[in-house]
Symmetry: C2
Subunit: 272 residues, 2 copies
């Protein structure tokens, strides 16, 4: 099954577009897990256990794990092992290198760690993405319009009368011969998100930036989904992970995730 | 001392612009190191021992180490420990993420592993680069024009009458308030390399693509150096690492490196 088909079926099955970003910061963990041998793993396991029926995906930002060195690599592996197979796992590493190096990144994330999807940089072009692309069951989210302030530095530059990110979208559509390519499109830019969905009606969109980054949830959902209310993946990080800093963190994460999933589902059937 | 000043002084001291890319592929190692507990580390140590007086830098492509999982992380650390402090170490990871994630990558590579320089993607703009940039002693090489075929997909797109990579260069020059920014400019595109040096006369240029990728060494040197014959870093990978597949691999690597360093030095004083 191609990634896009799988995503649609997972979202249908679990009735959720919510993705939890397991960007676990050891400095923000509740004291109750601090004494564990591997606090990040213990924290992640409990959050996953409490939310696994509420999400279509978990996204792991590799920066948070790399910052821990060897232990981080171990934490990554242990966290992935705790995620049920029916939930999609996204390696948010934003990799991008020449063909033979990209192939090693792909091998590490796809055949090694067995992630279900990855994020990649477009700047180095087709051969930097192709090693990820050739696995039809693996989702490849190419950065189009990101949620951070620096997005304006290059992504909005005008090329042939259109912003650069639209050039990225045009090529991604062309390269999508395996039905496994998607785009990263930040919720912090709702007007552009709407335009991106219109340019790529059938592509999965990974949408970060709601919550701590200030993106509006209603518009993220109504603009980000396809015409049938699927293929938008709404990522929430800090607002779920750190819903409580007390011993009830997992229950609080569940509560925050449930509220958000339900709110998303209400917007899916509302037109703006 | 800022990175750019350090680079000039290292290149002056060691009389070399050569950088060896320690992109060590376990599948290509000589049988004589295969039986070691950690063949990659044993191989790297011997190559470093044999070439340390011939190079201004070693570049480690992180993809090759990540592909080995926890062991790769360990190999990275052990390899760095074998490099003398006067030689520059470059983390070629091509990272780039929103501010708080980029900060973790920077922490891992700069304060954790203590690399002397890193490569980064420009696409996400200033806040994705700033966490690296704020360490004046750390070099930050922003991808401008890369050596791979996919470079043509986006890097050559015309923005205000100029190719996108020139827009990257203009911003990098503006952001270079700490005198530690540089550019990646592939040797496979000599005419553009000449133009890049003219646009950025005082920036360090990391120049991959000679050897296996087909870039011409003479033009890489004459176009890539500043007016005094410094600040170009010529990277060689496979041609040095795998100069021999026999038990004499380290001596052969030394021979290949020495030949290349000398050839580079001849071109430094020749005008094309």
């Amino acid at each position: 099954m191609t990634f896009t088909d799988r995503l649609r079926s997972v979202q249908e099955e679990c009735r959720s577009l919510l993705c939890i970003g397991l960007d676990t910061d050891p400095a923000k963990l509740p004291v109750t897990v601090m004494s564990a041998a591997d606090p990040v793993v213990v924290f992640n396991r409990q959050v996953i256990e409490a939310t696994r029926d509420l999400v279509c995906a978990y996204k792991l930002n590799l920066a948070f794990y790399e910052a821990l060195g060897e232990r981080g690599w171990h934490a990554l592996r242990e966290t992935l092992a705790a995620i049920p197979p029916e939930v999609i796992t996204i390696a948010d590493g934003k990799r991008g290198d020449i063909g033979n190096s990209s192939e090693l990144y792909a091998r590490s994330l796809i055949t090694g760690l067995r992630f279900g999807a990855s994020t990649v940089h477009p700047y180095m072009g087709f051969d930097s993405i192709e090693p990820f692309l050739r696995h039809p069951e693996h989702g490849v989210f190419v950065l189009a319009l990101t949620s951070n302030p620096g997005a304006k530095d290059f992504q909005y530059l005008t090329v042939n009368g259109k912003p650069l990110y639209e050039q990225v979208i045009a090529r991604v559509r062309k390269w999508n011969t395996h039905n496994n390519l998607g785009l990263v499109a930040g919720a912090t830019r709702p007007a552009q998100l709407k335009r991106i969905r219109s340019l790529a009606p059938g592509l999965p969109l990974l949408i970060p930036g709601v919550g701590a980054q200030g993106g509006d949830l209603k518009r993220a959902v109504t603009y980000g989904c396809d015409s049938r209310g699927f293929l938008g993946i709404i990522n929430a990080g800090r607002s779920v992970l750190y819903a409580s800093s007390g011993p009830d963190f997992a229950a609080a994460a569940r509560q925050a995730a449930q509220t958000m999933r339900d709110e998303i589902n209400r917007y899916r059937v509302t037109s703006v």
